[in-house]
């Protein structure tokens, strides 16, 4: 049989497959396979020291999970971190971005300063801040006198540890939301501000009736990102825990969904149970992004 010359279209298709083959292979091995494996594990009792012989136990992991006080505490803490941080990240991000856009001098320098924590490691940020907020230190005495916050080491006291984690999350991420809002505000056409000024909309009126509605897309984006990130808080509570102790210390008050399943696997050696908790987090995040997608497309259909 005569060897047929491949057409340009066929050659191109072959090139296309060759271009996507490496990424598909890696994603199959290191993403989809473990993700499915994790789902299977969550219906199994897996012995950490004898990984090859798991036993199927149906929904027992999930039943245990929902009755587990430690899991409830972790889920509750994660929700608190999210509920406290998200509004402050969005509000703070917008206010600082708006003001940064309305000054003339030192704009870039100030923006850089706010942005620095966002490029550094959460471990370093956590350690820097936990040693600044130690009992009897000037910082703590300042907050004690001003707001009546107890004179304790914030990272080590069950009353202050969780708010402290939220503070860390905000400190690290605020710079990012400032940048996103600056982009959003810069995207507003200049003519709109000029027209508004002619109509007498200045100061707060301008912010309320023009800027805030016009950065709505940015706000939606910031909301989704901040919720996603807060739900996945791990580095801060992990660093807060004294070496060797159970993550989430003091007394589990800083445990989060991720520290929970991390501990279940690496401290209590229960991969199956850990996977069921990981799967629960996955479902929560998926539900969140599906709800938000549905809401968004409905809003777009209604033309706002």
């Amino acid at each position: 049989m005569k060897h047929r010359q491949l057409s340009i279209k066929e050659q191109d298709a072959i090139a296309g497959y060759l271009f996507v083959l490496p990424i598909l292979t890696m994603m199959a091995i290191w993403f989809y396979y473990p993700a499915i494996k994790s789902l299977i594990f969550s219906f199994q009792e897996v012995n950490f020291f004898d990984l090859n012989n798991p036993t199927n136990i149906g929904l027992a992991n999930f039943r245990e999970l929902f009755a587990d006080d430690k899991f409830r505490q972790a889920a509750g803490n994660t929700l608190v971190i999210t509920a406290v941080s998200v509004p402050l990240l969005l509000g703070g991000g917008f206010i600082i971005a708006y003001n940064l856009e309305n000054i003339r001098r030192a704009k870039t320098v100030l923006r850089t300063m706010f942005f620095i924590p966002a490029v550094t490691s959460a471990v370093a940020l956590t350690m820097a801040l936990m040693y600044l907020f130690v009992m009897d230190s000037p910082t703590i005495l300042f907050f004690h006198r001003l707001f009546g916050i107890p004179n304790v080491t914030w990272a080590a006291d069950p009353r202050t540890a969780l708010p402290f984690v939220a503070l860390l999350v905000i400190w690290k991420n605020l710079g990012l939301f400032i940048i996103l809002y600056i982009n959003g505000i810069n995207g507003i056409p200049h003519e709109i501000f000029e027209a508004a000024a002619l109509d007498g909309a200045t100061g707060f009126k301008r912010i309320r009736h023009i800027v805030i509605p016009l950065v709505r897309n940015t706000t939606v984006l910031c909301f989704i990102l901040s919720v996603m990130w807060c739900m996945q808080t791990f580095d801060e509570p992990f660093t807060l825990a004294r070496s060797g102790s159970v993550i989430g210390s003091p007394a589990g008050t800083t445990s989060t969904l991720i520290t929970f399943f991390y501990s279940q696997n690496f401290r209590f050696f229960r991969p199956g149970y850990a996977s069921s908790a990981a799967f629960a987090l996955f479902v929560i995040l998926l539900l969140f992004s599906l709800t938000q997608n549905a809401l968004e497309s409905r809003m777009n259909r209604e033309g706002r």
Partner: protein, 271 residues
């Protein structure tokens, strides 16, 4: 009116400057504490009493090894991602082949699923392969990124197709076209990928802490965490670790500010 406006601008600037300063006080405090001897902790002392002992201690604890491990991990991950994401992004943008739509969703779908659900199975895979405490474990599972692939696809869609059409007329095949025409004009997008991945992996804790447990294989974040004293009286050492961890990144960030800001706006991409 103008005077009023100017004064509000000044007040704004001052308030923002105050806020920015407060924002960085923890870093300055860390830097100051890193220079104190144990006896001087918690007090205010002048430069004459500052010491470098803590830095010596941190170096002795393995600082340079941690830097090296972080560099190898980050560089390996960046190299792999540049190749894999860019190739796939190009194919998804420009080449027609059967099944492209499904492949697109398979790749982009990884954005929708939080990577942490894979942590237990990947740990177990690493154990079975004997990869715990190796660079392989720190690099190979992380060579792809759905979001960056999507970003590259969008970029390739934005370049004029005439360039490739004229290359085709000159007799170049897909590979030649990609290597000689497309890549050279993609430098900025490649740089964006580099910086995005650098920030993510230089600061990464969850994965390296999972896949290593030997001091010699610690990356900088894990090493820093191990410096955390059991008691607060060692905070000068911990703070020295903090300074050593963040200083290289901050210097790099200040040198390449624009690229950093641009690459971080990337998180705004949604599939």
């Amino acid at each position: 009116m103008t005077i009023h406006k100017r004064s509000t601008t000044i007040i704004r600037t001052l308030l923002l400057a105050l806020g920015a300063l407060l924002y960085l006080i923890p870093f300055l405090y860390a830097l100051y504490t890193s220079l104190l001897s144990k006896a001087d902790l918690g007090s205010v002392v002048g430069p004459s009493r500052w010491v470098l002992d803590n830095y010596r201690y941190v170096i002795g604890a393995g600082l340079f090894g941690w830097y090296k491990n972080s560099l190898i991990m980050t560089a390996g991950i960046i190299a792999g991602n540049l190749v894999l994401n860019t190739l796939a992004g190009y194919a998804l943008a420009r080449i027609e082949f059967p099944g492209k739509k499904i492949i697109f969703f398979v790749i982009i779908g990884t954005m929708m699923i939080s990577g942490q659900i894979t942590i237990v199975p990947i740990y177990i895979m690493a154990v079975k392969l004997g990869w715990i405490n190796t660079y392989k474990a720190l690099i190979i599972p992380f060579l792809t990124n759905g979001m960056l692939t999507f970003f590259m696809r969008q970029f390739f869609l934005s370049i004029p197709i005439e360039l490739e059409e004229s290359a085709r007329i000159d007799g170049l095949g897909r590979f030649g076209m990609f290597g000689r025409i497309v890549l050279p004009i993609s430098k900025m997008s490649l740089a964006t990928q580099v910086i995005f991945l650098f920030r993510e992996w230089w600061n990464q804790l969850l994965w390296p802490v999972t896949l290593t447990n030997k001091l010699e294989m610690f990356v900088i974040t894990v090493g820093l965490n191990s410096l955390k004293g059991q008691y607060y009286e060692w905070m000068n050492v911990s703070m020295t670790g903090v300074v050593c961890t963040i200083l290289p990144v901050i210097v790099l960030f200040i040198l390449m500010q624009r690229q950093f800001t641009q690459s971080l706006a990337l998180v705004g991409i949604k599939g």
